[in-house]
Amino acid sequence: MKPSIWVKRIAFIIVLLAIWQGVYMSGYFPAIQFPPPTKVFQALVEGFADGTLVGALLASFKHLLIGLALAITLGTLIGVLLGKSRQADETAGMYLIAMQSIPSIVWVPLAIMLIGLNETAVIFVVVLGGTFVMALNVRTAIHSVPPEFIKAARTMGAKGLPLFFKVEVPASLPYYMSGIRLAWAFSWRALMAGELLSNGPGLGYSLRFAMDFAQMELVIGIIIIVGVIGSVVDQLVFSKLEKKVMRRWGLLK
């Protein structure tokens, strides 16, 4: 990337911060409601220094990793089932779409009442957040294996399980990677929802806590952390992985 782009980007941030500070200094909003950037920065430094934010981050990552791993596993199994079995797809496929269109936050009350106000409930919500989108993508991945690959492989004597594992699985990898990226995005959203309504620990809980105790600077600080983590993980991990696969598979120049 050209250095000039980074200059522009950083300039943009600086201008934003200046406007923010300006609004603060204008006194239009009461200070208790509208903290200046400096106080937000200070709140973040303190949070990291005394370890509360570090602990919250670690807890959130734990929930996310466990939940996402489960969601990917479950989603893959369901997706393969629906992708390979027309019977299963016709029977349950429609409901999968319905499940996916339920915002994950809606699961939180159910999870809390069934499982209790603990980390398992948060993980449960994360799993629900990621599983359906994963399953839908795996199903699509299997359906979109180019039929000429399967035909070609069959003329070379491949069939049954070897055909599945040696051709269909690798051929569907690009869609599978998109599935993983979407599963991450939705699990990440579900994680925040679950934690926000949970009893901690976790980044979402810290946010809730800051809100309950009117620590506006911490609220903004945590939103910034969430945005940075979300975009960094998305861009540096999942998007990159997806693009790499797409490029190798010749689907992207």
Partner: protein
């Protein structure tokens, strides 16, 4: 006869593609199939490959009935259908059974890649090659399992004219070197005449064989050879009627559907 089609017919749920196909092909013959779009050329080839069921009649290869795909028949499609996750070399060795040792596989891949002049690209990935190069890899892959018959469905249809000429020459060399039997589907009359020992012309509605010419012209065949030109004219006339039939139906169909 080596490859024998006996009263072969194909029906899909609602319509009959062709019926009463009787063809006998000798070993080491290069046979082209010409015909208007939709007459069932690809379907017939797929049936020989074992990818499609035979509705009626029998197909035999070396006396044995064709029921499933098998490594005795290699197929090359219009799209190279190379596996993008494998290198050129691994694509070529894909059809080889596990009982080949790693060294044997390397040897076979090297052998066929040399034949298509792509030795240097053995570690490249398909997306790094041009369309013509990819099609050469697909041919090498089909050859690697040493099939008795090579089935080719418009293998050069997606390439530009110049590349096509180059691949014609390569295919001729391979044909002479390996002594394969080749069944070759194409839209191009010139291509069929340039390459084949024999041209089968199919008609449509319903699909059937309407002509079967031996091409007794010495190779290499020049475009300006009078025999070539004569043959071209003969086939062109035969096909024109068929094509007009299709065009008319299409226009009618489209008019009906667009009301």
């Amino acid at each position: 006869m080596f490859l024998q089609m006996n009263e072969v017919a194909k029906r899909f749920a609602d319509h009959e593609v062709f019926s009463g196909i009787n063809v006998s092909i000798e070993k080491n013959q290069f046979v082209s199939i010409l015909g208007p779009s939709g007459c069932g050329k690809s379907t017939l080839l797929s049936m020989v490959a074992g990818l499609e069921d035979v509705t009626e009649g029998t197909l035999r290869l070396g006396g044995e009935k064709i029921l499933h795909p098998g490594t005795d028949r290699g197929m090359v499609f219009q799209q190279p259908a190379l596996f993008p996750w494998l290198t050129v070399k691994d694509n070529v060795t894909f059809p080889l059974k596990a009982d080949h040792s790693k060294r044997e596989k390397e040897q076979i891949a090297a052998n066929y890649l040399k034949m298509v002049h792509l030795t240097r690209f053995k570690d490249a990935y398909p997306h790094e090659l041009s369309g013509g190069m990819q099609q050469r890899v697909a041919i090498a892959r089909a050859l690697a399992m040493d099939p008795k018959v090579l089935l080719m469905d418009e293998p050069f249809g997606a390439l530009d004219e110049q590349t096509r000429h180059i691949l014609h020459d390569e295919l001729m060399k391979i044909f002479e070197e390996t002594k394969k039997t080749i069944l070759f589907v194409t839209h191009s009359i010139q291509e069929a005449i340039k390459l084949s020992d024999r041209v089968i012309v199919m008609g449509t509605r319903p699909g059937k064989i309407i002509a079967d010419f031996p091409i007794d012209i010495a190779r290499p065949r020049e475009r300006d050879d009078t025999k070539v030109i004569e043959m071209e004219k003969k086939i062109m006339e035969l096909l024109e009627d068929e094509i007009k039939k299709v065009m008319k139906e299409e226009l009618d169909y489209e008019t009906k559907h667009l009301g």
